[in-house]
Amino acid sequence: MDAIILQILNGLDKGSAYALIALGLTLIFGTLGVVNFAHGALFMIGAFCAVTVQRILTLSYEVVDETQTDFLGNPLKVKVPYVESWFGPETGAAIIDWAVPLAILFAIPIMIAIGFIMERGLIKHFYKRPHADQILVTFGLAIVLQEVIKYFYGANPIPTGAPDVFRGSFDFGVLLGFDPNAIIYPYWRLVYFSFAALIIGGVFAFLQFTTFGMVVRAGMADRETVGLLGINIDRRFTIMFGLAAAVAGLAGVMYAPINSPNYHMGMDFLVLSFVVVVVGGMGSLPGAVLAGFLLGILESFASMNEVKSILPGIDQIIIYLVAIIILLTRPRGLMGRKGVMED
């Protein structure tokens, strides 16, 4: 029982990342009709926003310490971050410690700007082009973005820790009457899940309750009619692209402490998130979120030893297997609309 609760937690957590990326993909697809293969790269750039903020906060000057030597036997140059010299060592260290949450503030304008530039500079010209062209050009863009990141940050993962208060894990088991240590879950992952829930809720509320959101939803359903009403739907779609980029970016920022960011993390997520979107049904926002959590949970269950001993290797293929089964039983995924991307 405790093992199952644990895997549900894991699944929700994995599902949060899938759902956030899939949500952004679907926003772009549903509003603009563009298949964005660069979406994983946006997630990756988000994570690197966290890295960058950490780098900026740890910008240092060097003090030569004669009493110590470096690996070559020269006097050791000790790096002192500027923030520590400005605010004193303790406050300075605390600021550095909070790099990832601070990065959220930094990432929002950056990601929206990147979204705008991408949409106005590139994607705009591809609305009327075949989906294959869209895939190719955004895939090219994804490669370019990740290579640029690799050029500046290297190929190795870069550790980006969560603030100290979030270290360690929370013992759920005790709350539920299990033995201590039976169900523990890291604080930061709980934060991630809550954050994802907040963002997903926020996006839905925004689309549901604001006039802007209503126009966009109408535009998703029938772009021409809304255009005929004299509403500048294009500009709203640009804003939606910025929003989708911000969602992917924030998902990336918050993901940085879970797994150290590296330049190819976007590609790692890309294929999975496409599977999620399609399983959810092209163009359906609730579908994307539902499928994200569903696949996350199934993936977690598949990695349990009890399951693996019956079906060896099932955790290797579970997502794809489920995708196949769902697509064969429900032609348009869980909640897909008819006629979207079917030809």
Binding site: N10, F71, K79, P81, H264, D268
Partner: protein
């Protein structure tokens, strides 16, 4: 009218000289195994450095490439000469290999067998490389090694930790400097026993491919031999990025040690996740919960940041070693690039010098001659034991462990004293007298690297 295509460059030069522009059909014997491909005929000799330049191991590849460039510089008499000056033998005098200037070509393995072979082939077929070296995974090492065997050139493996590279998949032309999973296990076991006692329960998470399996097998065997119990062995998909669902059940399994048989990105993520779950702060069976990562790489471990503190693993080499050869290498590498070399860099540097040394001594760098040269050394081990013990894993006859004696005879300074019986795969676990490759990861986050 047929001959092996691998002899292209050699033929081409002679052909161009003798025939002066006429078509010149040539018949040669098949160059396969006894043969010798790409014999240098001009004033230069070309080495092929085949390292991952794209993909997740690109940084490791970049470090390997730095080491290769340094080695070439030293062989050609540039720089401070690095390790060369610490050799008792003065065969390598800075005039290249056998008086021929060393040139090199580079390629990208992408850490994929296919791409690595394509790139190695292009070096052999197009650039006339006489030796191929490099790589960052066992799969690539085995694939390229097989190719070099067919092509009749020498392969000096880069980073490869699988037992199979020089065991099941061994090839006569393939030579290895890097240690293997078996040796990791042999080195680690006594240290783990000392640190954590002999009554432990281990839980293995293992990358689900051949290297992971060999390591799991070796570590489990070594730890079980000293009394540990293996509670569970769980395979994790190579493509996994989030290991939470594999780590979550560990605490409930009754295990008190987690062994992560992962490398590269897998290792960084699984370790980060394990620490996230707070495993290291827990007590199980009345003991502190411990994590072990048998194959440690400083370069990769940087990705896990602070999480590596207090975790033990084994490494082939570390820059803080104080023998002459290591010191000389660290000094020239550090002076040139500003940071200490990784174990991958060390292996690649040493492999290049080893090749050059053997080739020089043997006067002709044919695979056969090289093999004889090294075999000769091995057979004289007992006679010259005070200089060096260069035992090989006999079944995998290409393993070099040059031991640092007082007069270091050979470029690789290592620190293991293996007796011949140690190195037989199936032999019972021998005591290891002095064992440095086990490092506490605390010590390898040097202060000057803090912000890097």
């Amino acid at each position: 009218m047929s001959k092996s295509n691998f002899t292209r460059r050699g033929v081409l030069k002679t052909g161009a000289m003798s025939a002066g522009g006429l078509a010149l059909p040539t018949i040669l014997t098949a160059a396969s195994h006894a043969g010798y491909t790409n014999a240098p005929t001009g004033s230069t000799v070309t080495l092929g450095f085949n390292v991952p330049q794209t993909g997740p191991y690109a940084d490791e590849g970049a470090d390997e490439l730095r080491a290769y460039e340094l080695a070439v510089e030293h062989l050609n008499g540039g720089g401070d000469g690095g390790m060369l000056s610490t050799f008792s033998s003065k065969e390598l005098d800075g005039s290249g290999i056998l008086g021929k200037k060393v040139e090199f070509v580079t390629g990208d393995t992408q850490t994929k067998s296919d791409a690595a072979r394509a790139s190695a082939k292009s070096m052999i077929e197009k650039d006339g490389a006489v030796m191929i070296t490099g790589g960052s995974s066992s799969g690539v090492a085995v694939a390229v090694q097989g190719l070099c065997q067919e092509a009749g050139v020498i392969f000096m493996a880069g980073l490869t930790h699988s037992n199979d590279t020089t065991g099941k998949d061994k090839k006569a032309n393939g030579f290895r400097h890097f240690f293997n999973a078996y040796m990791s296990a042999a080195a680690l076991a006594p240290v783990l026993q000392k640190l954590y006692g002999s009554d432990r329960k281990a839980y293995h998470l293992t990358a689900d491919y051949t290297w992971g399996w060999t390591q799991e097998e070796s570590i489990a065997a070594a730890t079980e031999a000293m009394g540990w119990e293996t509670v569970e062995k769980v395979k994790t998909p190579l493509a996994a990025t989030d290991f939470s669902s594999y780590i979550a059940p560990v605490l409930n399994s009754g295990a008190d040690v987690l062994v992560l048989n992962h490398y590269g990105g897998n290792m960084v993520n699984s370790l980060t996740n394990a620490v996230q779950f707070g495993l290291r702060e827990k007590q199980v069976n009345g003991k502190n919960f411990e994590i072990v990562v048998p194959l440690y790489s400083r370069l990769m471990a940087k990705g896990a940041g602070e999480n590596v503190k207090g975790i033990h693993g084994s490494t082939n080499w570390h820059w803080s070693l104080q023998d002459e050869g290591s010191k000389a290498f660290v000094k020239s590498f550090g002076t040139k690039y500003g940071f200490p070399p990784s174990q991958a860099a060390h292996t690649c540097y040493v492999q290049t010098l080893l090749y050059a040394d053997a080739a020089t001594r043997q006067a002709r760098s044919t695979p056969v001659a090289l093999r004889k040269h090294w075999k000769g050394l091995n057979s004289t081990v007992s006679a010259t034991a005070r200089h060096c013990i260069a035992p090989t894993i006999t079944s995998a006859s290409k393993m070099f462990w040059w031991c640092a004696g007082k007069k270091t005879q050979h470029p690789s300074s290592t620190f293991l004293k293996w007796s011949k019986s140690h190195l037989r795969h199936r032999s019972p676990m021998p005591p290891i007298t002095r064992c440095l490759p086990v490092v506490n990861w605390d010590h390898v986050t040097p202060a000057h690297n803090r912000a890097a």
